[in-house]
């Protein structure tokens, strides 16, 4: 079934050639469309990474519905509870009471108490000036064995400050205690996905018999607490930077922000910094950059032999650096024609300028602009989509099914991307079945 509504519309305002695009926001803000692509992680998915913890939300029905069913769809309803805010709670000004008593009621009903509660308050708490200090103080007195974590689902604040996602990636590490640093250990923070086994950082740590800790691999509360023992804190996912910086300052640890990149020089510089910070000496003593690059070139060449001149569309959800990926592919002979994004990361300013000059007709296409609901989602030619949104907007069953950079990193990340592209090009996928599932990589019972 495919129905179109309204008048025929053109792409103006929803798509622009990069040569004409403004940085960092190429499209005028306005009403927003939300596509049926849901592989991105939301605060519920990320919160579930915390072992032996329970999430409790306090909000109105409409906001609640999305989070409670996120938990249900990932088969984690037994780690999720909530308290509904009613009109009378706003009018009576007793939001503190309903929050305290509601959370208390939930916890009293649990046969086994969690080690931690991620308590999410919302826009309403903020606007009504709810005394959150009192709320948390009271709950901590009532349940002294439970660690209460201050989390926020307040998207009304996200255009002028940290998003709820960024705040959660800070909050989730707040219970980490001050512990003695383990000289062999590195803690990788703020990512939803464990790094792949052969990701550069892991290979380097392994070569030095070090310990690599990351939240997605924590199975117990004690595993989680051990994250604080890292000699060095590292993060690579952009929304994790804010929280990781705060944590490293609090625990007095060195911190490196090493964002996933598709640029050989940047990756090399990151790995050199990492080796230095860990006391591993020069990077070349651990891995050969020349060999790493040669291996990347080989895999990219092989992928290009298979994919050839097929059009490629990339989206921002596949990786936080879509422009960098486009540059890499264009410089290796791939025909990248579209990038789906709504704004450009400040980290990609250089790539933006490069693409403006070397690929001026490359199309930047919005994902939330109102016309994206009704513009055609088909193509006359085969398109290799890199990312779920690119797949849906182009109507392509040939797509790389991954979000947020997955567990890819470094030279290995480039090779894995090329391999995934090749695989996606040859194997048709059921786009509708895959992209609508929430939280790529999580269990999904739909």
């Amino acid at each position: 079934m495919l129905k179109r509504v309204g008048h025929p519309v053109d792409e103006k305002g929803a798509a622009v050639a990069i040569k004409d695009a403004a940085f960092p926001v190429p499209f005028a803000p306005g009403l927003e469309f939300n596509s049926p692509v849901h592989g991105n992680w939301n605060i519920v998915h990320t919160g579930m990474l915390m072992p032996e913890a329970r999430q409790i939300y306090v909000c109105a029905d409409n906001c609640m519905r999305g989070v409670v069913l996120t938990a249900a769809e990932m088969n984690a309803a037994d780690r999720f509870s909530f308290v509904i805010v009613k009109e009378e709670n706003l009018l009576n000004g007793n939001l503190e009471d309903i929050t305290i008593e509601g959370v208390t009621d939930v916890l009293n009903k649990l046969e086994e108490k969690p080690k931690a509660v991620l308590l999410f308050t919302v826009c309403l708490h903020h606007f009504l000036g709810c005394d959150l200090e009192r709320v948390f103080q009271e709950l901590e007195e009532r349940f002294p064995k439970i660690t209460f974590i201050r989390c926020y689902m307040d998207p009304i604040m996200q255009k002028h400050g940290p998003t709820p996602d960024q705040k959660l990636r800070k909050a989730i590490y707040e219970p980490l205690p001050k512990r003695k640093a383990d000289e062999k250990a590195v803690s990788f923070l703020g990512s939803d996905f464990a790094l792949e086994k052969n990701a550069d950082l892991k290979r380097i740590v392994r070569a030095h018999q070090g310990i690599f800790r990351e939240l997605p691999e924590c199975k117990s509360w004690e595993d989680y607490l051990a994250l604080s023992e890292g000699k060095l804190f590292v993060s690579s996912y952009p929304p994790s930077k804010y929280g990781a910086e705060v944590l490293s300052e609090r625990l007095k640890r060195s911190y490196l922000y090493l964002p996933g990149s598709f640029d050989y020089e940047e990756i090399t510089a990151q790995l050199e910094n990492f080796c230095q910070a860990m006391g591993y000496g020069k990077l070349e003593e651990t891995i050969s950059v020349e060999e790493e690059i040669a291996a990347c070139e080989k895999v990219l060449e092989k992928a290009h032999e298979v994919i050839g001149d097929t059009a490629v569309a990339i989206d921002y959800l596949y990786h936080p650096r879509p422009l960098g990926l486009a540059k890499l592919l264009l410089t290796h002979g791939f025909r990248v024609i579209q990038i789906y994004l709504d704004c450009i990361s400040p980290e990609e300013k250089a790539e933006f300028e490069w693409l403006k000059e070397h690929a001026p007709d490359l199309q930047l296409i919005a994902t939330i602009q109102v016309k994206m609901r009704v513009l055609p989602r088909t193509s006359d030619e085969k398109i290799l989509a890199i990312g779920q949104k690119a797949a849906w907007f182009t109507g392509s069953p040939y797509f790389v099914n991954m979000v947020q950079g997955g567990g890819l990193y470094g030279f290995d990340g480039i090779r894995r991307t090329a391999e995934l592209m090749e695989e996606a090009f040859t194997e048709e996928k059921d786009t509708e079945d895959l992209v609508v599932r929430k939280g790529w990589g999580c269990e999904s019972c739909i």
Partner: protein, 371 residues
């Protein structure tokens, strides 16, 4: 405590109800909210979103605009979108923060209508009620404004089905079964509110002999159509063999037939149904008649006035529902109720999109074929 929930979810809320009811009518529905309402709606409450286009958007309200009372951006963004997309109408739906701020949605709708020439209306939602309210008020507005003038012409043995959305009935093919059931009893459906028809079908709604409220979502519209066109209405869902009884009620203009049926001859062995009042009461009547057992309906939705049979109950919240179910022998409900049902009860799954969303979509029953 009524407001705390340990394990079960909540029903679709009012904002999603508005969007669902208006989905196929060619208008543009705008949720005034920062974020989240749109994703929640199209992920969990809207099974048509993947490939059936509808102009449903969110305003992306920001803190500064909310505090400063800056409605102009909201208006400008809507006008810009309307200029590009030419919707047949504009519907505004509010969420908690605009409710708290006292945003004057009717006034904003009036401004939009005057400045764009496109009919505009506000649905007074605040994200704190269930879908029956939101969808009901949305259809009420459609009945008031988009059904044309009274012509006096009545088409014999015709009905409008009021209150049909995927939230209660699933895909359009399931809704078609309701029409087929009625057709088999000699009744033709003029329009279905609101899925499966072209928007213009509403223009002849005033010519129906009678309106059939198949879920509580349609009740408000029925009352408007009664006042506007003098069309009587009947409340009940044409489920399987119970359709014959509904058809008889349509002929006799008997308003809520199941209430009378449900009061007759209570047998032993109790079955408990949980869900939307009109559908569950109709199903209960059908089960009682066919299986000779006693049925109790527990309704967790807000709008039940006059819709429940004697002995049936409105139940609010998880704790109250768990208490109400503690002695239940046989339970027919959405599978997500199972964790609060007695361990030794017989549980029959009756997935309901308005409760469990798309989780059981592949197992969704065709309500019209149930008994």
């Amino acid at each position: 405590m009524r407001q705390s929930y340990r394990i079960i979810p909540i029903y679709t809320a009012d904002v999603s109800g508005v969007c669902s009811a208006l989905y196929e009518l060619g208008g543009m529905t705008v949720m005034h909210d920062p974020s989240g309402c749109n994703s929640t709606y199209n992920t969990h409450d809207e099974i048509r979103w993947y490939d059936q286009d509808s102009l449903i958007y969110i305003s992306g309200l920001t803190e500064i605009d909310a505090i400063m009372g800056n409605d102009q951006k909201f208006l400008d963004d809507i006008k810009e979108a309307a200029r590009e997309l030419h919707p047949k109408f504009i519907a505004l739906a509010g969420s908690p923060i605009p409710y708290m701020n006292g945003t004057d949605f009717p006034a904003l709708a009036q401004v939009l209508e005057e400045e764009t020439g496109i009919p505009a209306f506000a649905v007074p939602t605040n994200g704190m009620h269930d879908y029956v309210y939101g969808a009901g008020v949305a259809l009420e507005e459609i009945a008031k404004r988009f059904t044309g003038e009274k012509t006096g012409r009545i088409q014999a043995r015709t009905v409008n089905l009021l209150g049909v959305t995927p939230l209660d009935f699933g895909p359009v093919s399931h809704a078609e079964v309701l029409k087929e059931n009625l057709k088999a009893c000699g009744w033709k459906v003029l329009s279905t509110w609101a899925m499966g028809d072209e928007p213009d079908a509403f223009l002849q709604a005033g010519e129906a002999e009678v309106n059939l409220v198949v879920s509580s979502v349609g009740l408000r519209a029925a009352k408007v159509l009664e006042e506007k066109f003098g069309t009587p209405y009947v409340v009940g869902t044409p489920i399987g063999s119970y359709t014959e009884r509904i058809a008889k009620a349509l002929e006799e203009k008997e308003q809520i037939p199941y209430r009378k049926d449900r009061m007759q001859g209570r047998k032993e062995r109790k079955v408990t149904l949980i869900g939307e009042p009109v559908i569950m009461e109709s199903l209960a009547a059908g089960i009682e008649e066919k299986y000779d057992c006693r049925v109790e309906v527990l309704c967790p939705l807000e709008e039940t006035d006059g819709l429940l049979a004697d002995g049936d109950r409105w139940v609010h919240g998880e704790e109250e529902m768990e208490e109400a179910l503690k002695d239940a022998e046989i339970i027919v409900a959405d599978p997500l109720y199972k964790p609060i049902c007695p361990k030794n009860c017989e549980f029959y799954e009756l997935p309901h999109i308005a409760f469990s969303g798309r989780i059981y979509l592949k197992k969704l029953p065709v309500l019209g074929k149930l008994v």
